[in-house]
């Protein structure tokens, strides 16, 4: 069965004498769940087969939940700089190609700034809520946090040679996952973290975050945050804690230009929420600099 091919039972329809049976409803629910997983696995295969430079390495694949996969652009075991991209709400495995393309753009940008061997990991390693309405609590982040912690610890353990400079980049609800992974008794094995377009990261300031090997007094130099001015996520800040771009949060801020266009009479523009990887956006060069460990040039 392919992800889209109708079954014979499906073609017959859901009704028996125009009555939808509970058995059919349950069967149809399970079928759609399986189809979604299958489509996700097909998307992973298509992504892996579609690119050779940088090489894509499949670091993890699970059919639990909605389906999970971890793909690296470049070899994280040998790279001097390793970044992990954690996407936000609405992410499911069928979209992993788009996620990898964002990682590729960060890879290219860091390469253009510093040139050192690097890897950027696309981490679809948990079930993200379908949208911020469902992501308005920290429950999914609490479930995802130990998974991200374990992955980052694994990256460190398997690295060959001198320890790499590791960065974790969260976008949207992914920032909540990253924040949860570095707080509340947990430690995240990363030298730097980046919060992009955050609805809150479960803590009130950088001193409550714990990065392995980084003293809490130094956190403001290792925690970066940016949200485009017109990004509607600004309306959601506070749901999972204050925005990490707030001055009181004490992260290192960097600029992110809003996208073109206006949102009727308001200043909000949905495009801004997805514009952080656009070539024109200063956020892209800043992310490249952070990945490359060049914090003095970030701004």
């Amino acid at each position: 069965m392919s992800a889209k091919e109708p079954t014979q039972l499906e073609r017959l329809g859901p009704t028996v004498g125009d009555i939808v049976t509970p058995e059919w409803t349950e069967w149809n629910r399970k079928l759609n769940a399986l189809r979604k997983k299958l489509a996700g696995i097909e998307a992973v295969a298509q992504t892996l087969n579609g690119q050779q430079d940088p090489p894509l390495l499949l670091l993890g694949l699970q059919n639990t939940g909605n389906g999970r996969a971890i793909i690296s652009s470049g070899n994280p075991d040998t790279a001097a700089n390793v970044a992990t991209y954690v996407p936000g709400v609405g992410t499911n495995l069928t979209g992993i190609g788009g996620g990898v393309n964002r990682s590729n753009k960060m890879y290219a940008t860091a390469q253009k700034m510093a040139g050192a061997p690097l890897a950027v990991v696309t981490w679809f390693g948990c079930d993200e809520p379908p949208d911020l309405v469902h992501g308005a609590t920290e429950a999914d982040a609490k479930h995802a946090a130990p998974l991200l912690d374990a992955f980052q610890a694994g990256l460190r353990a398997t690295h060959q040679g001198q320890p790499s400079h590791n960065t974790v980049i969260g976008h949207s609800y992914g920032t909540t996952v990253v924040g949860e992974s570095a707080a509340h008794g947990r430690s995240l094995d990363a030298n730097d973290i980046v919060f992009l377009a955050s609805p809150g990261v479960t803590v009130t300031d950088v001193s409550q975050l714990h990065l392995v090997g980084v003293g809490s007094s130094q956190n403001s130099h290792h925690v970066y945050a940016s949200t485009a001015q017109g990004d509607p996520i600004n309306l959601a800040a506070g749901i999972n804690g204050p925005s990490p771009t707030d001055l009181g949060f004490d992260a290192t801020g960097f600029s992110s230009a809003p996208d073109e266009g206006s949102w009727y009479s308001f200043d909000w523009n949905l495009a801004a929420h997805s514009s952080y990887w656009e070539a024109r956006n200063p956020s892209l060069r800043n992310i490249g600099l952070i990945i490359a460990g060049r914090r003095s040039e970030v701004g």
Binding site: A43, G50, Q51, D53, P54, P87, G88, V89, G90, T91, N92, T94, G95, I96, G97, G98, G99, N101, R102, N104, K105, Y107, A108, T109, Q111, K112, M113, A114, G115, P130, D131, L132, V133, A136, H171, P232, L235, A236, A237, G238, I239, D259, E260, G261, W263, N269, L270, A271, H273, S274, W277, E278, A279, R280, N281, P282, R285, A292, E297, G299
Partner: protein
Amino acid sequence: MRLNQLGVALIAVASLTSCTSNGTGWYHVNKVTIGQARQQLDDYVKESVAALPAAARLGPLIGDSGPIPCDDSDGALSTSPARAQADNWITGLPSSGNAEYLDAFVAHWITKGWRIVDDPRPHLNYVAVANSVGYSLVLATTLDGLRLSIGGSSACASREPPETPSGSL
């Protein structure tokens, strides 16, 4: 406080998801396919190189990078309009002229009606220009000044061919 914030956010996010799921929401989507947008972007990249000294050549930086989604609503990473990407090294030029190359690049695109959208010079040898329909180009050097690169993004373009013949890019 938390409930008030949640209410505002729900209104905003409900607007986001309902307005973008069909790919015709608040961002501008040109009536071209991603393939057409990639071709246009490649033409802009080549035109940029032509504005530099004649010895300039395009070299590979990464392979054929795929498009970047313009929409993060549920499931949209695989279906939404997306921006074509380009990233290349520029070879054949002495690094001693880096500042002049960036000036020539900017001058060329300003005369074409583009505008500077990011210019951290002299802090960084990096400059970005954009046109009015969503294309952008970046010319930059590595931090050590030894290598020159060009990158770009297209406007948001459809993943499917348009139903009617496309207009201009």
